[in-house]
């Protein structure tokens, strides 16, 4: 609990006075629990609400927009003070958002945005996927310090926005550094097993000694690739530098064990900044910016990854 508080405090820099929000009721329409990250987001949101004394009404939509719209209407009927919405798709929200506006209930979008007029919601709290990729690229640029580096890339699911944006960000960061070159790039579908299979083929096609770094669009693929590198008789983290994105517990464990070098956090704490904005809005009518970008924190071997692992492993990842 103490470790958790320490870490949350870094993201939620200003914990407001509990009494101020004590009688607030907030509805939270979550997409579902399709990934460990989403489960962690749900856990952290509940913790955030509890620590502020907010009564959180939680609705799991099981990946269906119609369930989310139903949940929103039910929140409006119950007369909640505000609504948190993690939208499953971008389109089709105008009507229900107008209903919320008519009932004067502010809506905060979490993690994803919608295609609707931006006066229909208070603000959107999301990470910047392109920025995450560029943090990874910048880390590698600094790490190799001018030496030649042949990079292999494990992309996410082809055509998905995280895959496109994380690739773009990374390429932006390494462009202009001629010593860095992506020599192979293939999809690993964001899964461990495909990450391992594709890394095996990279190792054979390029030769393990000719690969200087691996950039994976998520940690799961990196964890799979680490096993492939070990089975090829190389030392992951030393012979091949590994940087990935998400900062799931197993990545912290891998960094703590020296098998991985860096991961960029996609924080599950989207609710913290959202609730801060709502509390400020209710206290004195402060309008938050339309987009609140969450921090993309870089974790390397310099951080106490073992402690972060212990803290994160029970969040539901």
């Amino acid at each position: 609990m103490k470790l958790r508080t320490t870490l949350l405090a870094s993201a939620v820099s200003l914990l407001p006075v509990a009494g101020m929000a004590a009688d607030m009721t907030i509805g939270f329409s979550q997409i579902g629990s399709e990934s460990g990250w989403r489960a962690a987001e749900t856990t952290v949101t509940k913790q955030e609400a509890e620590s502020r004394g907010i009564d959180l009404k939680f609705a799991d939509a099981q990946q269906k927009q119609e369930n989310q719209i139903k949940a929103l209407r039910s929140f409006i009927a119950q007369g909640v003070d505000a609504i948190l919405l993690a939208p499953v798709v971008a389109t089709g929200w105008d009507q229900v958002l107008e209903e919320a506006q008519d009932a004067e209930i502010p809506v905060v979008l979490l993690d994803r945005t919608v295609d609707a007029a931006d006066d229909l919601y208070l603000t959107a709290v999301t990470s910047d996927l392109v920025h995450e990729g560029s943090v990874a690229g910048q880390w590698l640029v600094d790490e190799v310090a001018g030496e030649d580096c042949r990079i292999v890339e494990l992309q996410g699911t082809t055509g998905s926005s995280p895959a496109i944006d994380r690739k773009t960000g990374f390429e932006n960061a390494i462009s202009g550094h001629d010593n860095l070159e992506i020599v192979r790039s293939q999809t690993g579908d964001f899964t461990r097993s495909q990450g391992k299979v594709v890394m095996e083929s990279f190792l054979k096609a390029e030769g393990g000694e000719n690969i200087c770094a691996l950039y994976a669009h998520n940690d799961d693929m990196a964890v799979g690739a680490i096993q492939a590198i070990k089975e090829a008789g190389l030392n992951p983290g030393e012979d091949i530098l590994i940087v990935a994105i998400d900062a799931v517990p197993d990545a912290h464990l891998a960094i703590a064990q020296g098998e991985m070098n860096a991961t960029i956090e996609l924080t599950p704490n989207m609710a913290g900044p959202a609730l801060d904005a709502l509390e400020a809005y209710f206290a004195d009518g402060t309008m938050p910016p339309k987009w609140i970008q969450t921090e993309s924190k870089l974790y390397t071997a310099d951080d106490d990854n073992q402690a972060v692992y212990e803290m994160k492993k029970d969040l539901g990842y």
Partner: protein, 351 residues
């Protein structure tokens, strides 16, 4: 029915030739494809990868061939893989011995197969619908077991099944070859294969002829569940974790495709497990070709579908007949030329 060596060879010749051609493509894009080295006491090379990575589909297609031979189909094998992997992972992480976990997972997989068999053979639900139930529900069951997370484990015994080696050869290769050989022996050295074919050709008359088709059907589905469970344990052991969302995802389709490439009819009847296994290796060689070619991933599925389409077109009876006619007419003029394209020999009698 007695499978003499020349007739078996004649049956699998088209698959062997296709496999050879796809492997030749692999060598063309990556000249070191055939190199096999020993690294850290394990054989290491692209050919080994094809055999190793082909293990899940190879295991699935053993059971799938039998089910399809009875004129059925099993769409649930991918989900059963996820359930079995989750079962094995949760048993070892609760502190059980890895053999207990393996037996538990295989038992759960067989139970899933028995359920499918019950729906098909006793309640007479059409196989595609009956197994769709478990295909959809199975991942939910697996997620209940893993509680929605990737359940990781460090038990060396269980990991050896997926990522380990025996005398330098990756364990999955030995497992699928052993199970495949066992299954071929069981169906071809006993009357079992003929009984299964009889059900597929005409179940009513096979029953009138005295075959207990109900029990046999249930057994065949249970066998498929068993194969799927073994594949699921291997996949989980390979990544040292059970990923309920992704383990075996869409592999039921690859398994069906392997059976089809193996020249088996989806309408049941005569079957060849050996040809299906070659089909599984062909699919894995195509996957390997895509990875080695270095093409952008946007092309992966297009390349795969074009290659598979080409393989199926070459195998189709119409094309086979056309080529036979062309060859017969050219045989009139230049008899020597015919031997240059053995792939084109029609095999209708063997299909």
């Amino acid at each position: 029915m007695s499978a003499t060596t020349p007739s078996v060879f004649k049956r699998i010749l088209p698959q062997l030739i296709i496999l050879g051609v796809v492997l030749a493509f692999n060598v063309a894009v990556f000249p070191g494809f055939l190199n096999i080295e020993i690294h850290n006491g394990r054989v290491f090379g692209n050919l080994i990868d094809v055999l190793n990575r082909g293990a899940p589909v190879a295991l699935l297609c053993i059971g799938m061939t039998l089910v399809i031979a009875t004129r059925g189909i099993d769409l649930s094998v991918g989900a059963v893989m996820a359930i079995a992997g989750a079962t094995a992972a949760s048993l070892v992480s609760e502190g059980h011995h890895w053999t207990t976990a393996l037996i538990g997972a295989l038992a759960v997989g067989s139970l899933c197969g028995l359920w499918n068999g019950f729906l098909v053979a006793v309640l007479r639900i059409q196989p595609i619908v009956a197994t769709l139930v478990l295909m959809v529900a199975g991942r939910g069951i697996a997620q209940l077991i893993t509680e929605g997370t990737i359940l990781t484990f460090i038990d060396p015994g269980l990991i050896r099944l997926g990522a380990g080696t025996i005398v330098g050869i990756p364990t999955p290769i030995l497992i699928w070859i052993a199970l495949g050989a066992g299954a071929i022996f069981a169906v071809r050295r006993t009357a079992l294969g003929m009984l299964i074919e009889a059900i597929g050709i005409n179940e009513a008359s096979s029953r009138l002829a005295g075959i207990n088709s109900r029990v046999l059907l249930i057994c065949v589905y249970a066998m498929t569940g068993f194969c799927a469970a073994l594949a699921g344990v291997i996949v989980a052991a390979d990544i040292k974790g059970a990923d309920a969302n992704n383990a075996g995802l869409w592999l039921e389709l690859d398994a069906i495709l392997a059976v089809v490439i193996g020249g088996n009819s989806l309408l049941g009847g005569r079957f060849s497990i050996l040809a299906s296994l070659l089909g599984a290796l062909i699919i894995q060689s195509v996957n390997s070709l895509i990875l080695l070619s270095g093409m952008p991933p946007e092309f992966n599925l297009i390349i795969k579908s074009v290659l598979i389409l080409a393989i199926l077109v070459i195998q189709s009876p119409k094309v086979g007949h056309l080529i036979y006619m062309l060859r017969a007419s050219s045989l009139h003029v230049q008899p020597e030329k015919s031997s240059s394209r053995p792939v084109l020999t029609p095999k209708e009698d063997a299909q």
